[in-house]
């Protein structure tokens, strides 16, 4: 039996190596995936020299922000870091923490689920991102790296499916999400598209902030302020039929008042304003949302900078 176990062990080790290789190879082949916008966003984050507004959050930002309008109005350089909520709050904050400079304004515009239902350490999306953009791994904690073994298989499967989809998209002549993301990091591929969101029939979830999320936010705030920046927390737009109003008010109250940006009630909009999910605004709704954000920022003391 020991010999059998030795052979089995050798096989499993080799299998692990093959799995790791498949993880990276399929990730490379799926390099056109929407998660690869991460690289674009980081290139912009590093390239901007002036005081910046750094938008952090999930896909609500990717689909629903007009960064160009924000930049031209407030005269800050804007970079939209939002990709997907599944990356988890810890990673979203960690990936910008070391890039913050004096006078930067960091705004977390988070889907309520980011504070409770989506684990702080992220979901499978995080490991899908690392397979496509391996340099993103530098922002993972040791615990996150260790937890990654569970997602190797599913990520290979997802990458494989995406590569197949990509073949078809090329055949059908359709651009990818990466190709339809502008220099600010905003998605523009839903221009002229209609809403496909179905009203929710289910009881909306109640998302309360977990103590760990609050600790994370407060720790990040200290870090930003030490570097001379400012940190604010706002809320992602949410379709009305998916909103649990009492729970949202509780969530709003849990955000420290000095960090809070705008009122959560203003983020709840009719279902008809949304594209395909209860957080993805239609293209034409990006402008009004951005103007609301500008008004909230002014109310929070962020004023227009002198024109360059």
């Amino acid at each position: 039996m020991p010999r059998l176990f030795k052979r089995l062990f050798a096989f499993l080790m080799l299998l692990g190596l093959c799995l790791g290789a498949a993880y990276l190879i399929t990730g490379y082949a799926a390099g056109n995936h929407r998660l690869a916008t991460w690289r674009l966003k980081h290139q912009r984050l590093a390239a901007l020299t002036g005081p910046r507004i750094i938008l952090v959050g999930g896909s609500n930002l990717h689909y629903g922000m007009d960064s160009e309008l924000l930049q031209s109005t407030l005269q800050y350089d804007v970079v939209n870091m939002g990709i997907q909520g599944g990356l988890g709050l810890r990673f979203m904050l960690a990936e910008i923490a070391s890039s913050i400079r004096s006078d930067d304004v960091v705004i977390l515009l988070a889907e309520p689920a980011l504070f409770s239902r989506i684990p702080l350490d992220g979901e499978s999306t995080l490991y899908e991102l690392v397979s496509k953009v391996p340099e993103a791994a530098q922002f993972l904690t040791a615990r996150q790296l260790l937890a990654g073994y569970r997602f190797l298989g599913p990520t290979i499967s997802e990458n494989w499916n995406y590569v197949s989809l990509l073949v078809l998209m090329r055949l059908y002549g359709r651009p990818t999400i990466l190709e339809e993301t502008n220099v600010f990091g905003d998605y523009e591929g839903h221009r002229d598209r209609k809403s496909s969101l179905r009203p929710s029939q289910a009881e909306p979830p109640g998302d309360e902030m977990s103590p760990a999320a609050l600790d994370l936010i407060e720790g990040f705030q200290n870090s930003v302020e030490q570097q001379g920046g400012r940190f604010l927390v706002g809320f992602a737009p949410l379709a009305e039929s998916y909103a649990n109003f009492p729970a949202l008010r509780v969530l709003e109250d849990q955000v420290p008042p000095h960090l809070r940006l705008g009122k959560i009630i203003n983020s709840v909009l009719p279902d008809s304003c949304f594209y395909d999910t209860p957080h993805h605004l239609l293209f034409e709704q990006r402008g009004p949302r951005t103007r609301q954000l500008i008004a909230d920022l002014r109310a929070a003391g962020v004023q227009t900078r002198p024109r360059k």
Partner: protein
Amino acid sequence: MLFNSLEFAIFFLTLFVIYWQITSVALRNVFLLTASYVFYGWWDYRFLGLILLSSCVDFSIALAIERSDSPRRRWWLLCACLCFELGMVGFFKYFNFFIEEANTLLLTLGFAPHLTTLQIILPVGISFYTFQTLSYVIDVYRRQMPAEYKLINFLAYVSFFPQLVAGPIERATNLLPQFRTLKQFSEPDCVAGLKQILWGLFKKVAIADRCAPIVDRIFDSYTEQSSPLLAVGAVLFAFQIYGDFSGYSDIAIGVARMLGFRLMRNFNYPYFSRDIAEFWRRWHISLSTWFRDYVYLPLGGSRAGRWRSLANIFVVFLLSGFWHGANWTFIAWGFMNALYFVPLYLAGTNRRHLDEIGGDRWWPTGKESLQILGTFTLISIAWVFFRAESIDQAFDYLTRIAGCTFRVPGVSLAGDLIALMPLMVFFLMIEWHFRHQQFPFERPGTHPAVTWVFSLLTGVIVLASGHLQATFIYFQF
């Protein structure tokens, strides 16, 4: 506890190590029995009482049959056993079906029926272990084997966990004697078992579980799909059910082999069959041979005159369909297979293809390819009845395939199909290449490096698909 779950991996690894440390047959059987009951109780511990009761009744009746010299008494004991076992299956599996059908019939005849159905949970694997114990009692009655005198051996045989919930339906003549001997650890057997488990997992998670969501999407919205896509849905269901069921059998056989047991073969590359008769010699072999030995032959088989033989064929196929569940769709599926089989029987060609297909050639000949394709088409049509919610839906589905409507499929669905295609090609090539072996990678003389590469590739595909972790279709039967 699913075979394709981490909990089973931990369960089996622990069991494997302890099992081979035990040096007494009796203790090993007690250990296996305990493990099997833990495995079965994992789903619903309440059904443990049922399997224990069923086993004890059969054990006692078989002993009584053996000890009796009176043919009349032996016959009545057998009848009592059949009534108990079939009554149990009938209650748990078919009670509501018969009540509903009786209500419909009475309503049609102008009565106002008040027969109420019951909320009955179907015990997992009841059809499998009932048939297994029935074959034991019948074999003892026929004096084809002696009755088992040790209760623990018998309980361990009935509840042997690898094949408890979805077969193969083992004959007592094959499996029961294996519980009486002290098996020696054999590394080659363990390695062969592991390879078969790996291939079973591949069929389950990489083929069946990947086909399943596509099939579900097509069948759930079949009125909106084009004809080619409906045909693809039917073909993929054929692969789904094959991958699912034969994958389970492979894992069961592999697991048993690692513990020193030899289970019967349940599938023999059925989709490479050249006609329906050959298909039924290769598909779910343990069930089809069960029906042959305990229903078809006792009814007179093919020696009872032409019309009687035809009736026997229909009885066997209809029973086979009904065995799968209380739904007319299963009966229709059995009926269609009987219809496919009858012409071969009447022409006397039902035993024409007893040789191995393809000989030693790399590819099938043109004629063989056409025969395989034709048989597969017929089988896929019958599977539509098996998969559909109702017979009307199955007819509607098939009519729409024949309607020749064309539409470009959505990107998402087409993408899933393209993602599946390389796996299907790999699967078919491997199955064809190793068609003379019980399972792939078993071919003698294959260079170890080739085996390692294939095993690693299969392992990567399995692990990359393992998160799907769906249950097995045949658990519901």
